[in-house]
């Protein structure tokens, strides 16, 4: 197990998980982590798979609250309990078309994972300041960083860079993961411009395996369809997602 700090409040942990890798079938899937035996925090924490190498899995996580903070204090030799792989994957990236990957905040974890798979991809990573980035801005290699304050890469959100990248490609596809406001912006850009887009969304989860019904996300209403029967109004992020096409889901 290795646990290293990548940037401000951003850590990466790598650990052996051969059983999970056996069932793993692609970028987008996540695991659910139980850090400590204490019941003060009853729920597992979902974390995207950021890399799979040999019999090891990596995650990239941000220290936001009690559990991620205690994760950052772990040392090699400590053990965590991991459930997974859970959820579905990004799809359709194998067809050779240009893919533009957009990751905001910790949403970059699954995007980095996908980036390694997709040869024809450009990746745009957004953060508030340079402190939160750990990659270098290298447009030649198709890696674009953005920051709110312009302290590294391109100043502004990921959206302008996304737009210019989309313009420069033929029939591109978009794959995105990040905070809800970013996903919303990507979604509306994609829908307006009719660009095939997949979004990996987050939701508070109690079980991660489809038995609590906690992780509901609203499906987009389609004309003519009465959203009255079970699971036609909501999908479950943990089993139907976390990856949805941009047309499928609605953010409030």
């Amino acid at each position: 197990m290795a646990n290293v700090q990548l940037a401000k409040n951003l850590w990466s942990m790598k650990f052996k998980a051969p059983e999970i890798i056996e069932e793993y079938f692609g970028a987008g899937q996540f695991i659910s982590i139980l850090v400590c035996d204490t019941w003060e925090h009853p729920l597992r924490r979902p974390m995207s798979i950021a890399d799979v190498k040999g019999d090891c899995i990596s995650i990239i996580y941000k220290t936001v609250g009690a559990v991620t903070k205690s994760l950052a204090k772990m040392h090699p030799g400590d053990s965590i309990n991991v459930l997974g792989p859970l959820g579905n994957t990004f799809t359709g990236w194998e067809d050779g078309r240009d893919s533009i990957l957009v990751g905001g905040g910790v949403g970059l974890a699954p995007m980095l994972n996908l980036h390694k798979m997709v040869k024809t991809s450009t990746i745009i990573i957004g953060a508030r300041t340079s402190e939160e980035h750990f990659l270098s801005h290298s447009p030649q290699e198709g890696i674009f960083l953005t920051t709110d304050d312009g302290s590294i890469g391109i100043r502004g959100t990921v959206i302008p860079t996304l737009e210019s990248q989309v313009m420069s490609k033929q029939n591109p596809k978009i794959f995105a993961c990040g905070p809800e406001p970013m996903l919303k912006a990507v979604q509306s850009f994609a829908l307006e411009n009719q660009i095939p887009t997949q979004l990996s969304v987050e939701s508070y989860m109690a079980c991660g395996i489809g038995i609590c019904q906690g992780c509901a996300i609203k499906k987009t209403e389609k004309e003519g369809i009465m959203r009255q029967t079970y699971h036609e109004k909501y999908d479950l992020v943990c089993v139907n997602g976390p990856v949805f096409s941009a047309e499928e889901v609605t953010f409030d």
Binding site: H41, R44, Y204, A206, C207, G210, Q213, G214, Y230
Partner: protein, 307 residues
Amino acid sequence: MTDLRIKIGDITFSNPVFTASGTFGYGTEVSDLTDVSKLGAIVTKSVTLFPREGNPPPRVVETPAGMINSIGLANVGVERYIREMIPLYDNIGTKVIMNIAGTTLEEYCDVLEKVEVISSNICGYEINISCPNVKKGGMQFGVDSSMTEALTAEMRKRTERLIIMKLSPNVTDITSIAKAAENGGADAVSAINTVVGMSIDSETGKSQIYTTYGGLSGPAIKPIGLATVHKVYQSVNIPVIGLGGITTGLDAVEYLLAGAVAVQVGTATFRHADAGEQIINELHQFGDSKSIEKISSLTGAVKTYTK
């Protein structure tokens, strides 16, 4: 080895560890993560007359040693339940208790009648009376003893299978509700359902649950569940099924000592899908270490200082 079998009404269960409604789906979803046939019984999520989408998200949030949920009884409805779920129970290898919810007395009865007419290996019904009764101004069945008695009696008329009334702790005097269930002809009561709670994100100032209030579950409520089970055990002559915050075999033992004949495991399942199985193993260990012949001998055996 301790005999873990227990009896409710005429039915013998292989052990006293059941799953709690709403925390184990319809009982078949996680069969790759746990051996369902080891469980004493499965209690299904609440089924209503018509399909229900449930409440908008956010629906769940963690709290200290607990969680709040406001799923809003999302379920497929009884028709699809009968078509798609009940056939799966034929080979499930354990007993199935179907949990029923509704907003009028008629709705509860309709659901039950529809299931009664088909043959299945459902051995009983657990009745979730924590749903607001739309006819009585949104008042919950579970807070009113006459409504509880009437509902129980109507169900009793319609089935020979087990009727288990699930009690809500959000009342001044739960024993009067338990007695009403007994008078209405219930075979057992289960306690407790979730406790009303709320959670706020101080950073955003937002309620963490769409419906503002939700149901608190998990270890935090174990003391409330134990007190309730002990009170109910002393006030009725029908068996009590205990639940609320059970995560280990020793928690289960505490509930048995308080008066439960069986227990249900809810929130703990979200952490480990095989929590029920683990608890059964721990009950065996406990029984062995104390040379207990029959687990049923623990029921109500708590030593109190008074009375």
